[in-house]
Symmetry: C2
Subunit: 376 residues, 2 copies
């Protein structure tokens, strides 16, 4: 195997697959990146217990200026290899497999010789057949991940809650995540014909996935197997394992009738919550208190040792019963950030029942739920 | 005490004195910032065991838009206070001391009440009289610190070596630092009349000092007392304790006759050393080897497990005996970074004697010394 290629283009591909490579793995070959060179181009692979990423650089890609002298394959320790490539002196570099899995990396006058591993010993990626596929624009999938992924549980006590639940049914794709204190659910229409599915994808895999996309505008094809999902773009295959087990029925958690409703402009509410949380973070309970009356809405934060804050909030509309309710401001901040720059309606039943947050404009099927904190 | 002031200007002053404030101190009042308001303006003070910083914001400073309603003083927990100021909703804010050292911080509709401490309990800063002063441009002092500070020892086994030795003598200011493996010495002419001095300033203080300057163009006045030094600019007083003890005589360490000399362009040598150190960092000894002959200069890095690198270096001129010498590439990288974009002459005696690095153009009195590593 011998190729010459543009250094910064190669580095981009390497950085993509490095998302799947951990230096902490107990399987030594998985600290490496698998490099396979065919007449079509270069494929890099990185893998860990949860995800595998395969990135393809075509020989036809002009910006890579690739010259293939002979095909072949090798595995190189990924972190170290990346550092070498990053520090080479010239724009182009040459990679050549010598005898005994030794690899020469040359650029300008610099001449590295590093030890590789036989690519035949690298684990095989799952084979995923072509059925059960849907296609989404990358920017839409990224948005769904950002809108739900933050609400997954970080505790392994209920592993199924560390994932996002995806259901394709009745030409709708539903994504929902909950850590049992808050919930976030987003639904989008899917007009393509595809078999229904019901899967739970680890939240961490989705975070890495959304960071791996390089082109917001392209389409991503999602294929599902029994215990794996594959996200495929033009130059990347991203595999994740699925979580096993039954996801709880979250639909019954979402209330439908309310006693108090109030409309906020998200960025204004977010900065007020942010200020109030400064004090709640210093206290033992980390709660803020919202007092809603017909003519005023006031937010309170308090820490006995440090001090307190009080802020009458700007709001767009309030209807229904007066209410005092306490909640964790960090859940509220996460929820508001997921909405972004829009107006939302917050709907309450009482001080002890979960409340919902939804876009005021109803063309967006996105709902969040936060459980309040009882203070007496 | 009550004042209204522009938030971002106040924050700048606070950030300056926060360099001296540690949240880890065992003296609770030193986690606070002392705020003193007089008819002239606002003084903030932060302090720890090593350094104290005082920052002054004049009432006349138009960009601060300061309104003083009543004078006074208070101490507020610095980190927390800074976070509040940073998150206030409006451009301006009002700070008012209420009863019992309570402080109201208001901006727009947000209304914080926090607990302060009596400013009378804050430790007094040393009083430094006006003798033994020299003045330097800020950019020159910063440069001297960058040229020497990196070479101080980080180990407390010989505390005196954790500082930079400054000697004013014979109208020259000499700054030298060594950790006993490498040394860096810079000398500048001082034409002002000042009493000679001989002091050792902690390296950490100098690092904080160089980061505290906001205006490269102004002058800094350096005043020395028995165990303190004061750096004074228009708006900042920066105090540091001095290290006690005798600094070793470093002058006798610097050799004066050599057998091999070679000229390099610093950025080129630095990037080659950087590449070679990739491999030496993986090995046990962290050394690279330089082989100098009359017609070639080659740099080698090696790690038995990972691989090796070999690079013929670009150089400007070589004279004297051929030589093979091994050294720690990290000392070399630090030294080269301190020179910056220039050509240097490296002078060797033998493979086991320290070698020197000096600017090739001799109008800059700056010399560095690196001890090689014996490999047999």
């Amino acid at each position: 195997m011998k190729l010459t290629v543009k250094r910064n283009i190669f580095l981009q591909e390497l950085q993509t697959v490095q998302r799947a490579i951990s230096s902490k793995t107990t399987i030594p070959i998985l600290t490496g990146v698998k490099i396979v060179l065919t007449d079509e181009g270069l494929t890099l692979t990185g893998s860990n217990a949860d995800i595998s990423i395969e990135s393809f650089l075509s020989k036809e890609d002009e910006k890579a200026q690739m010259t293939i002298e002979s095909t072949g394959s090798i595995v190189l320790q990924a972190r170290f290899f990346g550092e070498i490539i990053r520090k080479l002196p010239e724009d182009m570099f040459t990679l050549e497999v010598l005898d005994n899995n030794q690899v020469a990396i040359t650029s300008g006058k610099a001449d590295f010789t590093v030890n590789g591993l036989d690519a035949d010993n690298y684990p095989h990626l799952p084979v995923i057949d072509a059925k059960n596929q849907i296609q989404l624009p990358v920017h839409l999938l990224t948005k769904i991940i950002n809108e739900t992924g933050f609400a997954v549980s970080l505790h392994e006590s209920r592993p199924i809650l560390t994932g996002v639940h995806f259901i394709l049914d009745n030409q709708k794709l539903l994504a929902v995540a909950t850590d049992s204190h808050r919930l976030s659910q987003r639904i989008i229409p899917i007009e393509q014909a595809a078999e229904n599915f019901n899967i739970v994808i680890p939240g961490k895999s989705l975070t890495e996935l959304s960071r791996s996309f390089t082109n917001e505008e392209e389409m991503v094809e999602i294929s599902i197997m029994e215990n794996q999902v594959l996200f495929k773009t033009q130059n990347m295959y991203f595999y994740s394992r699925l979580l096993e087990g039954n996801y709880p029925d979250t639909n019954r958690l979402i209330p439908t009738s309310f006693n108090t409703e109030i409309d906020f402009y998200v960025p204004e509410l977010l900065s007020a919550i942010d200020r109030a949380s400064l004090l709640s973070h210093e206290g033992r309970n980390n709660i803020v208190r919202l007092a809603i009356a017909s003519d005023s809405v006031i937010l309170y934060g308090n820490s006995p040792e440090i001090g307190k804050v009080e802020e009458p909030l700007n709001y767009e509309k309030v209807t229904g019963d007066p209410l005092e309710i306490s909640f964790n401001p960090d859940y509220m901040k996460d929820a508001l950030r997921a909405f972004g720059d829009m107006s939302i309606t917050v709907k309450f039943i009482s001080a002890i029942r979960p409340f919902t947050l939804e876009p005021t404009e109803t063309d967006l099927d996105f709902i969040q739920l936060i459980t309040p904190v009882r203070t007496n």
